[in-house]
């Protein structure tokens, strides 16, 4: 079962619809004890980083997320909160991936970065299996994660930033796979494969 983390900043309907289209079992919960029963966790998010962190803390979800060994897929703000801190509300975030979120410079181009853009894979990972630099994904964000050692793919808008990231059991995507047509569904299926260790072939997928 996939646990979808429920909190104020979640786009729960879109993520659960995407899982339903893939025939994946899921539940939605804001209770760490319930989430402990999941095989893997999707951590969605839209909105403001500081407000989202306050909400996670009020439900003890921050502590649970930092300590879990389960595969976690952060989406959009969910991915951003995996980093250490954000310029958005100048707040500390979960800190499982090094780095600080920065605001796009709106004197350079329209902000938010909104619409379909590509990505450039920089490392192999099962999450990106079958996805290449021709494919388009749907992005909506005003803040970005600078690329670092944990970046699996970058995207270019105003500057290069992390589109896909992974560290240990944590994975994150800046775009919305649940809204990115067939390519997005494929990426979510890749995550399900990681969770259920399909196509393992003796090697660790994460």
């Amino acid at each position: 079962m996939i646990g979808i983390i429920k909190y104020q900043a979640g786009n729960l309907a879109s993520v659960s619809n995407a899982l339903e289209r893939l025939g994946a079992d899921y539940f939605i919960s804001d209770d760490p004890a319930e989430l402990e029963k999941a095989d893997g966790v999707i951590f969605p998010g839209v909105g403001h980083a500081a407000a989202a962190m306050d909400d996670l803390r009020s439900r003890d979800l921050d502590v649970w997320l930092k300590n879990t060994k389960k595969p976690v897929l952060g989406i959009c703000l969910g991915m951003q909160l995996l980093y250490e801190s954000s310029e958005e509300g100048d707040c500390s975030t979960l800190g499982v991936i090094p780095g600080r979120l920065k605001k796009f410079d709106s004197s350079m181009a329209k902000v938010p970065h909104m619409g379909w853009n590509q990505l450039k894979p920089t490392k192999d990972h099962h999450l990106l299996k079958g996805i290449n630099n021709k494919h388009f994904l749907y992005y909506v964000h005003g803040y970005y994660a600078p690329s670092n050692d944990h970046t699996l793919a970058t995207c270019k808008y105003i500057k290069d930033f992390a589109a896909v990231v992974a560290k240990d059991n944590y994975m994150g995507v800046q775009f919305h796979p649940e809204k990115s047509g067939q390519v997005g569904s494929h990426l979510i299926q890749n995550f399900l494969d990681v969770v259920y260790k399909k196509e393992l072939n003796g090697q660790n997928l994460i």
Binding site: H48, P112, G115
Partner: protein
Amino acid sequence: MLTKRIIPCLDIKDGRTVKGVNFVGLRDAGDPVELARRYANEGADELVFLDITATKEKRRTLVNLVKEIAREINIPFTVGGGIKSVDEIEEILKAGADKVSLNSAIVRDPDLIIRASDAFGSQAIVAAVDAKRVGDHWEVFVKGGSEPTGLDALEWIRRTEELGAGEILLTSMDRDGTKSGFDNELLAEVNKLVTIPVIASGGAGTVEHCIDAVLAGKADAVLAASIFHFREIEIADLKNKMARANIPVRTIFEMTD
């Protein structure tokens, strides 16, 4: 590269798609869910649903339709039409819409933009502006284009951005339904003023009109209704021609496995 978006718009009345000419004289163009699915498959980048139903049953019908659309399609969509409060916005977003478009309600109550963007993020709040040339400027009209407000469109649009709107859906009342091309002068003026994306609406009749809206009007997205509903322009063909005009567009590559 970030691509320019093609957005079919579905006007919804009593759960069916309709399209008016200059907001009057409705013609049935079909089942919205079926149309939405067709557009998503054909390469639409986003969809907009505008509800023009005026009955008491409206809200429940609309929410059910939004849920059905969200189950069926996997691209972003915006819902608008008579949305007046944070509670109503929440209901539509929870049903699965990605954004709501607000029009008359924010003219009456501009602070609704602040409350809505604080609650759901700017990315979910689209300020829809119906503008009409009056003398040497553009004026904002509300209630489906029937009522002048006295507001200068450019000033109003700049204000919606300041208050927290994440995107502008800009409809030229003069061009809407005429198929004579977008008001590129208006678009260009608005794009000089704001840093949020602007969707061009009103006047699409040909592929060239859409190309001009991007090249001359600097639009980030192009919205149209009837040319898509009645298959006067195929989305794939439109995108091919936009690409040939050096406009970045999203093409759908089949997944290999």
